[in-house]
């Protein structure tokens, strides 16, 4: 190897490693999240909801933003995790939240693994049908198995033990928020490792051009099954968090609206850079709060309108504005060096 090549190899290593380095804006983001624990004590209930939604959206980003799979029924895994955690707690099988979370996540991942083989068959159209179909089927199942799930009345009588045996859930949502935020952070860090690994790179290549990815030796289907399984696990954990923090679980966790709203959340924040789902969750909940007070009944209308506008204006253009605005803000705050 020539000396020049040695230099180049170092540059290659540096630049690949730089992709995974934590940026200042990221530290600010998590710093702000941590600060909210102390500065916004009255808002912990809604903040916990936001953290859960953010985790759910992060899960969708893994398959949509990184692997290019459009899903109309991601709520299937969210709901499955929600019911799994609820049933485990209700029947006193696992009442400690963290263990319950792990169990629910694993079960949802198993379901995701099984579904992945169906989802990967065929075109976008079949994928839409399967993802939507599986979610609707689970909802119908939860509805029919009312002896187990409580049917339309929801799963009641869930009592959770304190988190790690020490922190009990309280009425202000303080424990719930800290717990949800901690789980979100841990799983975010894992997702971040995944997308910056060679495995993550191969996912992006599959999204960009599956034909070429295969021609470079990437086992396309195996990689998609793997990420679909992981994403399903993430969604299951998000669902389990909802059940645990609210001590309740209803058919609503499996509804189509939840899957569709999730698409909106991710689209608001932007796909394929992990923070999209997190930012989208904050914006979405704030919007929901604002619009719901305006016309609580017709919230759905506004969701629809936003979706239509986003597509007509163009996601690319919007994310262009968004990135420009963020970059501008970051420069002003001195977070990022000038280009």
């Amino acid at each position: 190897m020539s000396a020049l090549q040695g230099v180049l190899a170092t540059a290659v290593a540096d630049h690949l490693a730089a992709r995974a380095r934590w940026r200042a804006a990221e530290l600010v983001f998590w710093g702000a999240a941590l600060a909210s624990v102390f500065l916004l004590p009255g808002k912990h209930l809604i903040l916990a909801e936001i953290a859960i939604l953010a985790l759910f959206a992060l899960s969708l980003d893994l398959i949509l933003g990184y692997a290019g799979i459009v899903s109309l029924g991601h709520a299937a895994f969210f709901g499955f995790g929600a019911y799994a955690a609820g049933l485990l707690a209700k029947h006193a099988l696992i009442t400690e939240p963290v263990l319950g979370l792990l169990a629910a996540g694993l079960l949802a991942a198993l379901l995701g693994f099984a579904c992945a083989f169906l989802v990967l068959r065929g075109s976008d159209l079949t994928r839409l049908m399967v993802t939507l179909g599986v979610a609707m089927m689970l909802r119908e199942l939860a509805n029919r198995l009312d002896k187990l799930t409580g049917g339309a009345d929801g799963l009641q009588g869930i009592t959770m033990a304190p988190v790690l045996g020490r922190f009990s859930f309280d009425i202000t949502g303080h424990t719930a928020y800290v717990y949800a935020l901690a789980v979100l952070f841990v799983l975010f860090v894992v997702a971040r490792r995944i997308v910056h690994s060679p495995f993550g790179l191969s996912l992006m290549s599959i999204r960009g051009n599956p034909l070429r990815a295969g021609a470079l030796g990437v086992p396309v289907n195996a990689r998609l099954v793997a990420i679909y399984t992981v994403a399903a696990g993430y969604a299951g954990v998000a669902g389990a968090l909802l059940t645990q923090t609210t001590a309740f679980c209803s058919l609503d966790v499996l509804s189509f609206d939840r899957s569709a709203d999730l698409l909106l959340v991710l689209i608001i924040g932007g796909t394929g850079y992990l923070y999209g789902g997190l930012i989208g969750a904050v914006v979405f909940k704030l919007l929901q709060d604002a619009l719901a007070t305006l016309t609580p009944q017709y919230w759905q209308f506004w969701i629809g309108l936003i979706l239509v506008i986003i597509v007509l204006v163009g996601r690319e253009r919007m994310s262009g504005w968004w990135h420009a605005a963020v970059a501008q803000g970051a420069r002003r705050l001195g977070l990022r060096e000038r280009p």
Binding site: Q5, H15, L16, A20, P198, G214, A215, L216, V218
Partner: protein, 251 residues
């Protein structure tokens, strides 16, 4: 001399039209073998069957003597069969660095690493650097592929195939669309391949074919029309007739 790549009675038809009819072809190890023929002769369809994008209706594909007909595209790559595409098939959102990094990671069996950050293995990085330098891509390695000039994209197209570390390389019109003055980069890189790498290439530019190929197979209407050394093909009046007959289409 044993064949590095061989087809036995390959047949493929689309809706009753034979795109490949009973093609038996042997590419010797270390060969520089050209596949020529008029438009619509079924050259790319044949390549697609060799690489596993299409499944033949009948016949077999052998790589280094073992049957790979039933293998998926990525498994054939792992066995040492790589290809380029006639029309660039690149990753528009990734940089050349990332694209080559991907191919090298897969070759070295690191593609499923999901925890280790890309770039943290020196064997992978050295190999990436070597490819980037060989294909004159080092200066643009951070740019989005979509923003590269066409000549660089074409280089990347070929660099990716070579990054797979093939023993048999299929080039589908490697110089297609590349202006005259940029061709030598591409041809130089192909010519500099080690002798043990077997090259089968499709090309329309006859100057290029005759300067590079040591053996030529002519494909017409999906079937092998004739095969021989460049001298034999150049003398063959029937081959000329086939090409002359096509001339008005080109004009």
């Amino acid at each position: 001399m044993s064949a590095a790549l061989e087809t036995v009675g390959l047949v493929k038809s689309f809706g009753g039209i034979a795109a490949t009819s009973n093609v038996s072809l042997a590419v010797a190890r270390g060969a520089r073998h050209a596949l020529i023929g008029p438009n619509g002769a079924g050259k790319t369809t044949l390549i697609n069957q060799l690489t596993g994008v299409l499944t033949p209706d009948a016949g077999r594909v052998l790589l280094e003597g073992s049957d790979i007909t039933a293998l998926s595209p990525h498994r054939r790559v792992r066995r040492g069969l790589a290809r380029t595409f006639q029309i660039n098939q690149l990753f528009a959102d990734l940089s050349p660095l990332e694209s080559v990094g991907l191919a090298v990671s897969e070759r070295l069996g690191r593609g499923h690493d999901w925890w280790r950050v890309a770039g943290s293995r020196s064997t992978v990085d050295d190999s990436i650097a070597e490819i980037l330098e060989r294909f004159h891509l080092a200066d643009v390695m951070h740019e989005r592929t979509a923003h590269l000039p066409y000549g660089k994209q074409r280089l990347l197209e070929i660099a990716l195939a070579i990054a797979c570390g093939p023993s048999v390389l299929l080039l589908d019109e490697p110089a297609a669309g590349v202006p005259e003055d940029e061709r030598h980069d591409i041809l130089g890189a192909v010519a500099a391949l080690p002798r043990e790498v077997t090259v089968l290439f499709i090309e329309h530019d006859m100057d290029l074919v005759f300067s590079f190929a040591e053996r030529i197979t002519v494909l017409v209407n999906g079937a092998v029309f004739t095969e021989g050394t460049p001298q034999e093909i150049a003398r063959d009046e029937r081959v000329k007739a086939v090409y002359l007959g096509e001339e008005p289409v080109h004009a």
